[in-house]
């Protein structure tokens, strides 16, 4: 029995659900927050997406079959919520997702919850030029220090494909950092 199993069982029982759900929120909120924040960049947006992620989890917990690990299921929901949020926002503004990404990075300069220096801001600019999948893999591997196997379960991509994506992302970031002021 994995350490997640008692929690999943408690989540699916009416009598223990509320307490178990609070435990789930407390266990995963920080990891999921940082995962979402690195996708949407703004704190208030990350807060909205994080709360909606947990609400979705709460509503669908009875449908969780346990075919995958709980944390990878949570990451999948969080990733979908964050990417849908970005799509919706760019559509509302009538711009492409790439343009909206650039706009988000430009806003970081005046963001009170971003205290990055020049190199950290430049890294965000470099990340905004990457395809979404490479950016996700880079953030999960480099900043969240997740193992390839865990990322593979969360994103549904083969470990080999993830390694290639990570290498490509690092190469592109290095190239951006050396060719841009």
């Amino acid at each position: 029995m994995s350490i997640e199993e008692p929690l999943v069982l408690a989540l699916q029982e009416q009598a223990t659900q509320a307490k178990a759900f609070e435990e789930l929120v407390n266990t995963y909120k920080e990891r999921l927050y940082w995962h979402i924040r690195r996708i949407v960049l703004d704190h208030n947006d990350a807060d909205d997406v994080l709360q909606n992620t947990f609400i979705k989890v709460y509503k669908s917990i009875n449908g969780f079959k346990g075919d995958s690990k709980l944390y990878s299921w949570l990451y999948r929901i969080a990733t979908n919520e964050a990417l849908t949020f970005l799509k919706k926002r760019s559509k509302e503004r009538g711009v492409s997702e790439e343009t909206y990404q650039q706009h988000l990075v430009a806003n970081l300069v005046s963001d009170v919850y971003f205290e990055g220096d020049t190199i950290q801001l430049k890294l965000q600019k470099a990340l905004a030029t990457l395809p979404q999948k490479q950016k996700l893999v880079f953030n999960m591997k480099y900043f969240q220090e997740m193992k390839y196997e865990a990322i593979s379960e969360a994103l549904g991509t083969s470990v080999g494909g993830l390694k290639a994506s990570y290498h490509l992302a690092v190469q592109k970031i290095q190239s951006y950092l050396t060719t841009h002021d």
């Binding site: 609070e22 709360q51 509503k59 890294l123 290498h167 970031i173």
Partner: protein
């Protein structure tokens, strides 16, 4: 299969060296890339005490049975949209009283409704629409009567689906 094509040339010993180059590339991918030039932190911060507050906020939402966190401006837009619809309905009733030839909701093309919603920044996800619409007012019998044809579904997916991955299909549950 033809052994070679006279129109295309390849470097000498290309295929003899291919395996070596491929395996060199594979081992390169298996090794962790050099990331010494990257900053250790990305500079993002959270407000003080945020992680304590967020648990309370989530628990409140789930206990009160709220379905979705909607940003203030979106809530305002929903009220604004409801008010606009109410005004249109009143005008419609007045118009109907004064004119025998009336325009009904059915006269609007779907594309016009889509354009109106998009042009006015009222893009809502299916979930938000479901949350905003009163279930009792939905006539499910109408949906049953107009069953979706497979061709219509394919046309819709062709036009609106960017990537088949977006469907989130569970391939294990599909019957091949």
């Amino acid at each position: 299969m033809k052994a070679d094509d006279p129109k295309f040339k390849i470097p000498d010993h290309y295929f003899e060296d291919f395996n070596d180059r491929l395996f060199a590339k594979l081992s390169e991918v298996n090794e962790a890339p050099d990331t010494s030039f990257l900053p250790k932190h990305d500079g993002f911060q959270v407000p003080q005490g945020y992680f304590k507050k967020v648990t309370t906020a989530v628990m409140e939402h789930t206990h009160q049975g709220k379905s979705k966190v909607i940003a203030f401006n979106k809530q305002f837009m929903i009220y604004w949209a409801a008010a606009a619809v109410a005004v249109l309905l009143v005008l419609g009733v007045v118009w109907k009283d004064q004119h025998t030839a009336t325009i009904s909701f059915e006269d609007l093309a779907n594309s016009d409704i889509d354009n109106y919603l998009e042009d006015n920044g009222l893009y809502l996800t299916t979930e938000e629409l479901v949350a905003a619409v009163d279930e009792e007012n939905l006539l499910l019998s109408e949906i049953d009567d107009e069953r979706l044809e497979a061709d219509h579904i394919m046309d819709y997916l062709d036009e609106n689906l960017g990537d088949v991955e977006d469907l989130n299909l569970d391939y294990e549950e599909l019957d091949y």
